[in-house]
Every structure is written in C-alpha cells, then in structure tokens.
Amino acid sequence: MISARGRVRKLEKTVKEPDKDELSACLLAVGAGKDIQAFEVLFRHFGPKIRAFMLKRGGNRQQAEELMQETMMMIWNKAALFDPARGSVSSWIFTVARNVRIDAFRKTNRPEFDPNDPAFVPDPEPAADDVYEAGQEAERLRGALVKLPPEQADLLRLSFYEEISHSAIAERMNLPLGTVKSRIRLAFSRLRDILGDAA
C-alpha cells in the first residue's frame, strides 16, 4: 500500500531507486571486477538501511555507522561469493550484516557449516526448473509475507529488527512461549506452502 505522501516523496526523488535486478548486477560487478561505481550504488541504497538496522538492534548512532561501514567493507571484499541462483541480494546482505554484528558483540565467530568441508552433505543436483524458479522465489516470498496474518508478521518483524530470540519475544510481548513458537511455525510453514516447498 503506497500512501499519498509516499507517492509524493517518490516523485520528489531526483535519483531513481535501483530495482532488485540492478542491485544484483551491481553486486556481481563488484564481485567480478571491484567496480567502485557499482559499489556506490549498493552503498547509497543499502548503507542507510543497514545503519538503521544496526541501530534497531541496539547501540548508538556512531556504533551503527561503524557496523554499517564494516558490513559494506565485507560486501566489497566478499562480493565474489554472492551467487544469484542461491538467493537475492537483500538476503545475502542481511546475512553479512547479521554476522558482522555477531562478530562485534559476541567476540566469537558464528558457528557455520562449510560447503567445502569433505564431510558436508551437498544439495541434490537442482532440476533445470528449479534454477529458473530461483529468480521467481523472491517475488513469491514477498507476496507471501504481505499476506501473513498481522500477529505472525509483527512477530517476524520484531524478531528481525531487534535480534531477539523467541523466548525473549515471549517475555517482551507477554505471550506464553508456546504461543510464540506456534506463531513462528505457522508463519514459516505458510511461507513454505506458498513457495511450494513441503520440506
């Protein structure tokens, strides 16, 4: 839903907001050739969002700015690892920002699996249809998120913005832990249904 004010603001903007295909192309250009102009597009689009995201997760403006700069530096250095067949730009950047924050506050690396580890069990080979669908998936997910019942959508938003666990959410919202758990399960099982993934 775009409010009248939102429309006016959009019209006032002199610079056109890049769409997701352009952002994806920019990230690939940074990965392939350290393209500083492509990086500037990413910085101007995501920088303010990452700063706001860090601020929501706690800390002051200066820390949020530092964590944003650190995240963007990580994006500059690791862009070659971005694979558009595996997920969207915003999803990839979310994971980078999340990990920068964990490294900064927990003083430990986030335990993660390593796809190059000999003991790693790789994904089954994707069918040709699945590769085609990877691009559509983000669109469908966006549509699915909008259609979530408000109490489920609010819970996900609050969790993502404030980086709190489901047990902390239960305390905060004064809900029984079981209710929070079942809302999370309902939300994601619904998203998976819409994505046609019964896993």
Binding site: S90, S91, F94, T108, P111, A119, V121, L145, E163, A199
Partner: protein, 224 residues
C-alpha cells in the same frame, strides 16, 4: 544418511536471525552441514530477513551525512591493503573422508579418532568442548551399545545431534544426523541401540555452579 529428525522452526529462526548463542549454534550448524532440507528452510528465513532489511523506511536523507559516510567508505577502500583474493573454492579433498563435519570438527581439533575421551562411569565417556559462553555446556558423549545415557538430569533446553550409531527414546529412534530438541517438560531416557556405541553432540544449559566444595559434593544428591 537418512535424516528423519530435523531442527524446529523456532530454533532455526533464532539461528537465522543471529539470536542464538554459540553453544546451541554449534549443534544447529553441524546438523545443517548434513541436512540439505534444513538448509533450504534456513535460506527461506534468511530471505525473509533480507526483506525485513529492504523494508526499513529511511528518514528523509541528510545529504551531508550521507556524503560524509560515502567519503569515509571510499577512503577506507583506498587505504585498504590490496584485497586478499577470495580463495577459489577448493574441491572436496577426495580420499580420507572425515566423519565429523564442520563447524564441529574445528571445535574438537580433529576427527572422532582424535577425541581424548574422559570416563563418566558405566562404560560411558564424554569430551567437554570449550566455548566463549560458560552458561551452556557443549560436549561429545559416547554411550556403550545398549546402555542408557548417564547422569541425565537437566533443566532448560537440551539439543542432541547423533554423529555415529543411534539411540532410542520415547520420541523414536535417532540415527546419524538426527537432531533432538527437548526441554525440562520432557521426561525421556535415551538408550543407545545395541550393536554399536553411540556418539552424539549434547548441548544443555550448564548445571548451576556452586563455589563451595561441600555444596558441589551434595549437588548431585539434591538433583541441582
């Protein structure tokens, strides 16, 4: 490896969101290394995180702040040491197959045969794993075939990931790669299946630690 017991949405979501402590995350990430279907669910959650990031409304931009920020970024890139090239993804080293996946293997410092087991009594062994968080106990357990898991009292959450062999309890049979999540409301007594010792990763809220030696001695009697 046929995995039948997976990570719950609630727990996986906390991991996807960066809200899960290191100890629990070791068990979650190690299961993910073995389980393509849980990785797919993780990817959906991270995509939802990306959309939450994308949806953040920015206050009307303060142009000079943004310019200053971009200049700082440029200076940082210009002054950075020539970027270390991202190492080309090495192919799986053929041959010697490791049985412990990452990230667990690095926490152990080697594979299963490198583990310096400590006896727990009744033929069972454990190997505590150090993390940055003392409130969470992370360890490997080795349970002799056909025997129950010893000293099984815990409060709070407990995660178990089977690495070798299998065990059974009221929730069913758990084989390699299977993941069990329980809490204090579940009264379960896992028993290693006959035939092979069961090795699993067990993560629990650490038992309360008391300074007094006498309290520590009677702690097991009090069941705390």
């Amino acid at each position: 490896m046929k995995i039948t017991h997976h990570i719950s949405d609630e727990l996986l979501f906390d991991y996807a969101n960066g809200a899960l402590e290191e100890g629990w995350s070791i068990a979650v990430a190690t299961h993910l290394a073995l389980c393509p279907s849980c990785r797919k669910r993780l990817a959906t959650m991270e995509a939802a995180g990306g959309m939450a990031l994308e949806a953040i409304e920015i206050e009307p931009a303060n142009t000079s702040t943004e310019e200053f920020s971009w200049e700082a970024m440029r200076a940082r890139i210009d002054n950075a040491a020539p970027a270390v090239p991202v190492p080309a993804r090495p192919k799986h080293t053929a041959g010697r197959a490791a049985s412990l996946p990452e990230p667990l293997r690095s926490y152990i410092g080697g594979d299963v045969d490198a583990v310096k087991w400590k006896p727990l009594g009744l033929g069972a062994y454990h190997y505590p794993i150090k993390t940055s968080d003392e409130d969470i106990s992370v360890r490997l357990l080795r349970i002799p075939a056909g025997k129950p898991v010893p000293e099984h009292t815990h409060g709070g959450r407990e995660l178990t990931l089977v690495l070798k062999g299998s065990f059974s309890d009221i929730s069913g049979r758990f084989g390699p790669g299977d993941f069990e999540e329980t809490d204090e409301s579940v009264d379960h007594q896992p028993i290693a299946d006959p035939g092979e010792d069961c090795i699993c990763l067990a993560v629990t809220d650490a038992p309360l630690k008391f300074k007094s030696r006498i309290v520590r001695m009677i702690q097991p009697l009090l069941g705390i």
